[in-house]
């Protein structure tokens, strides 16, 4: 955040960093070997839709592209809007690598069209622990953080911190814990 932003107010949201998304596919080995976690076959990307017509038509174009990509890799795509008005594109695929590339395809497509700033986060679900484990990727800062919900509005902070400690070497992890956004009602 520069001095200009402070003096005159922000005029732009920060652009997304989707380049570190693929780090998750390499970390998957550690997740499986050391923690017994493997992909639940589902991942999703969420974005804040703009109300402008330009955004709608750009998003429709990307949708078609994703459908084509998904068909070739055999994954199924689903779309949802959550209670807070964020759009979700959900990818079902047994292979984590395919999920990550579909998510990356959407983020790259939106960025290409000039709407990358509308991306909120991507969530990847893993099974094998006491509770489902989500790795959430924040596009604004290009970092991952763990999210382990256990019951109504509760998250298992101990497991989350353990995940952070074990994966720190392989994943770019958000160091500021106040930014570990929770996604309790994520449709994944």
């Amino acid at each position: 955040m520069g001095l200009r932003d402070v003096l005159f107010g922000r005029k732009k949201l920060s652009e997304p960093h989707d380049d570190r998304l693929f780090a998750l596919t390499t970390a998957a080995v550690t997740l499986q070997v050391e923690l017994g976690l493997k992909t639940a076959g589902i991942g999703a990307i969420s974005l804040k839709p703009q109300s402008s017509g330009e955004f709608r038509s750009a998003f429709d174009d990307i949708d078609k592209l994703v459908d084509a990509v998904a068909q070739s890799s055999g994954s199924t795509i689903e779309r949802k809007t959550d209670d807070y008005g964020y759009d979700w594109v959900i990818v079902h695929d047994p292979d984590l690598e395919d999920i990550v590339s579909s998510v990356h395809g959407i983020s790259a497509g939106l960025t290409e069209q000039g709407f990358g700033a509308q991306l909120l986060a991507a969530a990847f679900k893993f099974d094998g622990g006491d509770h489902p484990v989500y790795w959430i990727y924040g596009f604004k800062r290009g970092v991952f953080w763990p999210f382990v919900p256990c019951g109504e509005q509760k998250r298992d902070n101990a497991t989350e911190l353990e995940l952070k400690a074990k994966l720190e070497e392989e994943l770019p992890i958000e160091q500021d814990l106040t930014r570990w956004l929770a996604l309790f009602d994520a449709p994944v």
């Binding site: 005029k11 732009k12 330009e54 106040t178």
Partner: protein, 304 residues
């Protein structure tokens, strides 16, 4: 493809520069007068004002919340509000501020805190219950933009010398009443305390207007920030309408049904003089709505 960064209001930026420049000039002149005429007592006064400013600056988040009687709410108490704030923070790339609620039916909200890391955002129960979720989101995004734009810092800086001038005015008054006239070393001119007194009053009056002007510009900037974060300025527009409680005047029943009542729906035309706007710290609603409408038109358009 590059999209234009909407809300690129060159006029607003220019007016901000101009007002800040005027305020800076005023403060430099004021400091010059102080140095020339007031040789003693300046240092302790400066310490007092600096101390006050620092105290205000560093305690702003707790102070404002306590003053408003707002209560910090946990995630368990208000999960939906926390979810909303967290997501908007992620969109705006801000750390999550403290979330507080104030128990009053009047819909309103405010943000405070010296930096994004020491910030709090507060909504009233009226806002939370009476507005649509998307409208609440627009209002929250407006408050988060205040945090992102560091408005507490800006306003503390802007009002620092105004505080000093206000203090001097009082100081000069006491000095004149008790000690004035005793030590008049130059017989020709007016007493020093009178000069300081008059200059302080003038500085205070002018800086008051300039500070209000800067404050109004910051509101426009925060409105723009809200449109940026939520991507849909129309919800902030309707939220602003509702908050200023003019929405209740828009009839939502068929005109024929309420024909007998329609006389009550005509709003009395408000005459707003340019002078009254000078003293307000928020811009008039119509102007904010107009600025947001302009952003809505620009939004998503490719760079021409």
């Amino acid at each position: 493809m590059k999209r234009r960064s909407y809300g690129r209001d060159a006029g607003l930026t220019l007016r901000m520069i101009l007002t800040s420049g005027l305020l800076g000039l005023l403060y430099v002149l004021f400091a010059a007068v102080l140095i020339v005429y007031l040789k003693v007592g300046f240092a302790p006064m400066l310490v007092i004002v600096l101390g006050m400013a620092f105290f205000q600056y560093f305690t702003s988040d707790k102070l404002a919340l306590a003053a408003a009687g707002a209560k910090v709410v946990s995630r368990e108490e208000q999960p939906a509000l926390h979810d909303m704030v967290e997501r908007l923070c992620a969109m705006a790339d801000l750390p999550k501020p403290k979330v507080a609620m104030m128990s009053t039916p009047v819909p309103n909200a405010f943000a405070t805190g010296r930096s994004p890391k020491h910030a709090a955002v507060c909504v009233t129960t009226g806002l939370w219950e009476r507005l649509e979720p998307k409208e609440v989101e627009g209002v929250l995004a407006h408050e988060l933009s205040h945090i992102a734009n560091r408005d507490v810092l800006i306003m503390t800086l802007a009002s620092f010398f105004a505080m000093l001038a206000a203090l001097l005015t009082r100081f000069g008054l006491y000095f004149g009443m008790w000690g004035g006239g005793n030590n008049r070393d130059n017989n020709s001119g007016p007493p020093i305390w009178l000069i300081i007194f008059v200059v302080s009053i003038v500085v205070y009056a002018i800086s008051f207007i300039l500070i209000r002007t800067i404050s109004r510009y910051r509101e426009y900037a925060a409105d723009r920030g809200s449109a940026l974060i939520t991507g849909s300025p129309e919800y902030l527009m309707s939220a602003l309408q509702k908050i200023s409680s003019q929405m209740t005047l828009i009839p939502n029943r068929d005109l024929r049904q309420v024909e007998g009542m329609s006389a009550f729906f005509i709003m009395p035309a408000k005459v707003k003089s340019a002078a009254s706007e000078l003293f307000m710290d928020h811009p008039p609603l119509e102007k904010r709505i107009a600025a947001l409408a302009e952003i809505a038109r620009e939004m998503g358009r490719p760079v021409a």
